[in-house]
C-alpha cells in the first residue's frame, strides 16, 4: 500500500520528513508500522514549494522508480530543500504481472501548466470497468494528457475538471469542492457499473499554498471473494496529522511544538515517529483543509458525505 505525506507550514528541511524521524516516510516504504502486508517498491515522487526559489509558484519536482531508501540523490537534495509545502508519495503495487512500474505512474500527478497536484493512497477496485465512463466527466484537453495506467491519474484529471480554470490558482474552498465533486462522480460511476467493493481514496490535493486531504473509502467493508488486497483493506486506510507551531527536535525527539494559531501541519499515512502520542487520527470519511495565510494556518476538518 502506498505511503503519502503532506507538509504545510514553516520552512522545514525535506530530509526531516523523509529520513530523520524514526518512522519517516522513507522508513515507512520498507518498514511500515501500519498496513504492512505490502512493501512499497514502485517508486517515489515529491513536489516541494519554496517561496524563496525561482518561480515560487512552481514546485520543485523529484520522481524516480528506484527505491527511495537507496537513492543518494534524494538524500543530498532533501538536505538542501526547506519548503513551506511538500507532497511526497511512495508508491506500492501488488505483486502481479498486471502492475506497471513506470515513471508515468508516479505521484504526485501534475499536468504541465497546472497549479494543482494530486497524490493518492488507495485504489479503485475494478477500475478498468469504469475507466472510460469517466471520460465524459473529464475535460477533453485534460483526458488527452493522461499518460499512465493508474486510477490516480484519472482522479487527478477529474479533480482538475471540476475547477473553473484547471490551470488557475483556486481558492482553498474551490479546491475542496472540486475534490468532493470528483469523489461524487466516482461514486456515481461506480454505482452505474455495479461496482460495490471497498475502494480507498485517501487523496492529497495541493497548490503549494493549500492542502486538501481526504480519508475515504467507497463501500468500505465489502470485498470480492478471494481478494488479494483483503487483509490490507480490512482496516480503514490510515491517515494521521500533527498540527502546531513548528516541527522540531526537542530532547532528542521530533514533535510539533505548540502554536496558537497553528503555523504548521503534517498529514501522513502514518505518524512520522513511533511515539504517536501527539498525533491525531484523521476521522474516517472526512476531509481536511489547510491553508497558509499571513496570520498563520487555517485548518478545518469536515465530514465527507459523498
Amino acid at each position: 500500500m502506498c505511503r503519502i505525506l503532506a507538509y504545510l507550514g514553516e520552512p522545514l528541511p525535506v530530509q526531516t520528513l523523509l529520513f530523520e524521524t524514526d518512522n519517516s516516510l522513507v522508513r515507512q516504504s520498507y518498514s511500515p508500522r501500519m498496513m504492512n502486508t505490502f512493501l512499497n517498491l514502485a517508486g517515489f515522487g515529491m513536489k516541494a514549494w519554496d517561496p524563496t526559489s525561482l518561480r515560487p509558484e512552481d514546485p520543485f519536482t523529484y520522481r524516480t522508480t528506484t527505491l527511495p531508501s537507496f537513492d543518494r540523490n534524494l538524500r543530498f537534495l532533501s538536505a538542501k530543500l526547506a519548503p513551506t509545502c511538500l507532497i511526497a508519495h511512495v508508491r506500492g503495487v501488488t505483486y502481479s504481472d498486471e502492475a506497471v512500474v513506470a515513471d508515468t505512474n508516479l505521484h504526485p500527478f501534475h499536468f504541465a501548466g497546472a497549479r494543482v497536484v494530486l497524490a493518492h493512497n488507495g485504489h479503485l477496485r475494478q477500475f478498468p470497468r469504469m475507466r472510460y465512463a469517466l471520460v465524459e466527466h473529464v475535460r477533453p484537453e485534460l483526458a488527452q494528457r493522461i499518460e499512465g495506467t493508474t486510477d490516480s491519474e484519472w482522479i487527478y484529471a477529474l479533480v482538475l475538471s471540476q475547477l473553473d480554470d484547471p490551470y488557475g490558482d483556486p481558492e482553498t474552498r474551490e479546491l475542496a469542492d472540486a475534490t468532493a465533486g470528483a469523489l461524487r462522480i466516482l461514486r456515481k460511476v461506480r454505482v452505474a457499473h455495479g461496482i460495490d467493493t471497498s475502494s480507498p481514496v485517501n487523496l492529497f490535493v495541493s497548490t503549494g499554498r493549500a492542502v486538501v486531504a481526504t480519508r475515504l473509502s467507497f463501500d468500505y467493508g465489502w470485498y470480492p471473494p478471494e481478494d488479494e488486497m483483503l487483509e490490507t483493506d480490512l482496516p480503514f486506510v490510515s491517515l494521521w496529522y500533527a498540527i502546531g507551531g513548528e516541527y522540531a527536535k526537542r530532547d532528542g525527539d521530533w514533535e510539533m511544538t505548540a502554536g496558537d494559531p497553528p503555523r504548521s501541519v503534517i498529514i501522513a499515512s502514518e505518524p512520522l515517529t513511533t511515539d504517536f502520542s501527539t498525533w491525531l487520527e484523521v476521522p474516517e470519511y472526512s476531509m481536511l483543509t489547510a491553508e497558509l495565510t499571513p496570520e498563520g494556518l487555517e485548518f478545518e476538518t469536515r465530514d465527507l458525505d459523498v
Binding site: Y220, G221, F299
Partner: protein, 324 residues
C-alpha cells in the same frame, strides 16, 4: 504488609473481586510491592507496557501529553484502583503518563504474569475477562460522559417504541463465506471450531446505510458484530456530533448495555450498507457467561473492542483539548 494482608487487600480490589482465595494467593506471590514518592513517574505516555499496578495507598494521576509540552490531567486514582492494564492488553504503548501525587504503595503485575492469568483454561480466567469487560464498560461510560459534556446540550429523546423492534425489523439472511471471516484480523488467532461456534451463535442480517441500530439513552436488546460494511458509533447533541469509533469488519458494538444493564451510552448508525452478526440477549448471556472456547472468542472480541474504543476516546479528548 504481610503476605496475608496482601491477599486480603487484593480481595478488595474491584478488578479481582470475583477471584478465589487460592488465585489471590498466587497473585500476591507474583506481584511486586513498591513504595513511590510524590512526583515519581510510573511510566510516560507511549512507553512500552511492562506492568500494570494496583494502588495500595496514596494517590496517582494520569495525564495526556499534547504537542508543545502541554499536558492535561485525565484521571486521578487511589487505593484499590488499577492502572496500566490497557497497554498490557493491546500491546501498544501506555495511553497516558502516570505520576504519583501522594506517596504511594503499589503492587505491580508484569506483562507475562498478567497474560498468563488471562490465558488460563480455567474459570478464573473467564471471571477476570468478564470483570475487565465490566470495568471497561464503566470506564467507557465515564469517558463518553466527558465527551458528551464537551458537546453541550442534551441527548435527544430516544425513538419511541419497543426496542426489540430494531432487530425484529432487520433483513435476516444466511451466514457469510467462512473463508472470508477467517481472513479477518480479529479472528486470525482463534481455534477454527471455536470460531465456528461463535459465528453460529446468532443470526445474520443486512442493513442499509443510515439505519439507527442503537440510540443513546435507550435500552439495547442486542449486541452486533460487523461482518461487512461499517457502523458509526457517535454521540449527538443537536447538530454537533463526535464519532467515537467506526465498527468495520470484525468489530463489535452494542454490548455495553448487555454487560451492565444500563441504557446505551452511544448511538450506532450504519455508515455503509452492512452485514451484521446479531446476538440478542439470550445468546449474548450464554457467550458472556460461558466458560468454553466459544465464550473465550467472544470475550476476547469484546475486550479488544472496549480497549480500542477507550483509546479512541482518549484521542478524541486530545482533539478537544488541543488548541485547534
Amino acid at each position: 504488609m504481610s503476605d496475608r494482608e496482601t491477599v486480603d487487600f487484593l480481595g478488595t480490589v474491584p478488578l479481582l473481586e470475583d477471584q478465589e482465595e487460592r488465585e489471590l494467593v498466587e497473585l500476591a506471590r507474583v506481584m511486586r510491592r513498591r513504595t513511590m514518592q510524590e512526583g515519581e513517574i510510573l511510566w510516560s505516555q507511549g512507553d512500552d507496557a511492562r506492568e500494570m499496578v494496583v494502588i495500595v495507598d496514596g494517590a496517582v494521576s494520569a495525564s495526556l501529553h499534547l504537542n508543545g509540552d502541554r499536558t492535561v490531567e485525565i484521571w486521578a486514582g487511589g487505593p484499590r484502583e488499577v492502572v496500566g492494564e490497557i497497554a498490557l492488553l493491546d500491546g501498544e504503548g501506555h495511553t497516558m503518563s502516570v505520576r504519583v501525587t501522594e506517596t504511594a504503595t503499589v503492587l505491580a503485575l508484569g506483562r507475562v504474569e498478567f497474560a498468563g492469568l488471562l490465558a488460563r483454561q480455567d474459570p478464573s480466567a473467564f471471571r477476570l475477562k468478564r470483570r475487565l469487560a465490566s470495568l471497561f464498560a464503566t470506564r467507557l461510560r465515564k469517558q463518553l460522559g466527558h465527551l458528551a459534556d464537551s458537546l453541550g446540550g442534551d441527548v435527544a429523546d430516544p425513538p419511541a417504541g419497543d426496542p426489540a423492534r430494531v432487530f425484529a425489523e432487520l433483513e435476516y439472511c444466511g451466514p457469510p463465506d467462512s473463508k472470508y471471516v477467517r481472513r479477518m484480523a480479529t479472528f486470525h488467532e482463534f481455534d477454527p471450531l471455536a470460531l465456528w461456534g461463535f459465528l453460529t451463535s446468532g443470526s445474520y442480517a443486512r442493513c442499509p446505510p443510515g439505519r439507527m441500530l442503537l440510540a443513546e439513552g435507550a435500552p439495547s436488546t442486542a449486541c452486533y458484530l460487523t461482518i461487512n460494511g461499517a457502523v458509526e458509533k457517535v454521540l449527538v447533541r443537536g447538530d454537533r456530533r463526535i464519532r467515537i469509533g467506526l465498527a468495520g469488519p470484525g468489530k463489535a458494538f452494542g454490548y455495553e448495555s448487555l454487560i451492565d444493564g444500563r441504557p446505551s451510552p452511544l448511538t450506532a448508525i450504519t455508515r455503509e450498507r452492512a452485514l451484521l452478526l446479531v446476538l440478542p440477549w439470550e445468546p449474548f448471556e450464554q457467550l458472556f457467561n460461558g466458560e468454553d472456547a466459544v465464550s473465550r472468542v467472544f470475550l476476547d472480541v469484546i475486550q479488544r473492542d472496549l480497549v480500542a474504543t477507550l483509546r479512541q476516546g482518549l484521542r478524541q479528548h486530545a482533539r478537544l483539548v488541543s488548541s485547534v
